[in-house]
Amino acid sequence: MKALPAIWPLNAGIGLRAPHTREFLARRPKVGWVEVHSENFFGGGAPLATLLQVREHYPVSLHGVGMGLASADALDPGHLNALRRLCDAVEPAAVSEHLCWNRSHGVVFNDLLPFPYTRAALDHVAARVQQAQEALGRPLLLENLSSYLAFKRSEMTEGEFLAALARRTGCGLLVDLQNLHVNAVNLGTDVRAHLDALPAERVMEYHLAGASPQEGCLVDTHDAPVDEATWALYEAALERIGPRPTLIEWDQGLPHLPVLLAEARKAQHRLEACHVALC
C-alpha cells in the first residue's frame, strides 16, 4: 500500500460528491484535501473503493450527518460501528458531526435539529461525545448548526455551549461560517460574540457554503457560491481564531467541478493572505 498523506494541510478543500468523483480522480486537481459524508461509505463496493482511491492522493475528512449526538435516545451502536470501520479503512484527517439531535423513540428525522442550550443538555451531549470518541478511538469535531428557531429555555448561546463541550470532552470544533450567517439573519445571532466565545485552540476546521433566501428567512441549502457576508465572516474568523483547513461545501444543484475548485481557490487566497499577515 502506498504511503498516505497523513497531515491535514492548512489549505482549502472541497466537499467531494459522487457526481464529481470520476472527474476528480482523472484530473487530480490541486486542492488541499476533500471531505465526504461518512454515511455514504458505510457499506463497501464502489463507494468505498472509490474513496480509497481518492485517499491515495488526498487527505480525507469524514463529515457525519446522521449520528444525532444530542438525541435523548441512545446512540445507535450500528452507526458507531460503521463509522469506526470506515475510520479504520480511510485513516481520515478528521471526523466531524453536528451539534444536533435527530432521533426520538426510535424514529429518526434525518435532519439536523436544534435543542435548548441548557446545562442539563451540556451534561447529556458531553456524555454522548465522550461515548462516541471512545468508540471511535479519536476526537470528534463538532459543528455549529444553522437553525430556523431558538428556544426560550436556552441558558447559554450555542458558542458558549460548544466552548464548554470542547473543554469537557476534548472534542475539536468545526466552525461553519455560513451557518453562523444564516443564524445571524434568521435569529439575530451575534456572530462576533460566537467567534469570541470559542477557544481558538480547539477550532480545527472552517466550513463555507451558499444559502438561499426563502420568504422571510435564509435557508442553509448548500446550493450556491459563498456569499459576500460569509466571506466577510470568514475573514473575521481568520483574524480572531487563525487559519484552519477550510472547506467549500456544495450539496445541491452541484456546479461543474472547476466552479467548485475556483471557490476553494478563493478560500485558499484568503488563507495565504492570513499566513503572510501572521509572519
Partner: protein, 256 residues
Amino acid sequence: MSPFADTPDDFVRPTRYPLSEALDIYRNNWRHNLRQALAGAYPVLVQVVGEAFFRQLATRFMDEHPSASGNLHDYGDALPAFLQGFAPAQPLSYLPDLAALEWACHRAYFAPDEPPLDLQALARLPEQVAEGGAGVVEDTLEHLRFEFHPACTLLASPWPVDAIWRAHQPGAPEDFRIDLKDGPCRVLVNRSEGEATVSALAEDEFRWLREIHAGATLGDATARTLEHHPDFNPGILLPRLALGGTWTRFTLENRS
C-alpha cells in the same frame, strides 16, 4: 406524524418570521431528505409511475413508515410491502415485485465487502478429508454449505420484472415492448465491479440456490431439487457461482 406539530409558541423565541414558517422549513427538509433517499433507491419505480405519482407515494409512505436509521441509504426497505396495499398502485400489479428487485439492487450496491471464496482451500478439501480418514473422498462436495455474499438476494416474481428493470437502466433502448405474460422470472441479484447485477435463473437453479441459501448442504439441496426437476445438473451452475462472488465462505458438515 411530525416531530413539530405540538411545539408551543411560548417554547420558542420570537423571530422576524412566524414560527409556522420555521416549522415548514424543518418539515420540508425532513420530507425532502426522505423523498430523495427513496428516489435514489427506486430510480426505475420513479420512471415507471412518473415523478408526480412517486411524490404522492413517497409522502404517504413516509407518514406510515418513518426512518429508523441515521443513514438514509437504509431508508425504504418497507416500500415493496407498502405498495401491496397502496390502492392507487393496484392497476400495476407487478409494482411491488419491481420495487423488491430495486431494493435488492440498492442493497447490493451498498453491501459490505467480503473476501472472495477461498477456492484453493476448497480444492484442498478432498485431500484433507482423505488424510483425516474422515470418510469417502468423492462425496465431500455433498456435505458443503455455502454462505452468500451480503450483496446477494434471490427473488422470484410471477411478472417479468427483470425485463422491466433492464428496460429502464441508463442507456437501454427507448422502444421496448414487454408482455406481462412473459413472466414469471427468477433472479439472483449480486454485485459485479461495484454495480448491481440481475441474473436470470432457471426454475431448477432457483430452487437449488434457495435451498443452499436457507442452509442446506449441496447434497441435500441437490436431492430436493431433483425431486421436482429430475434433469437438474448442478455441475453447470457450480463453477459460475463459485467464481462469480455469490458465495464467500464454505463449511464442511461434520459427519459421524
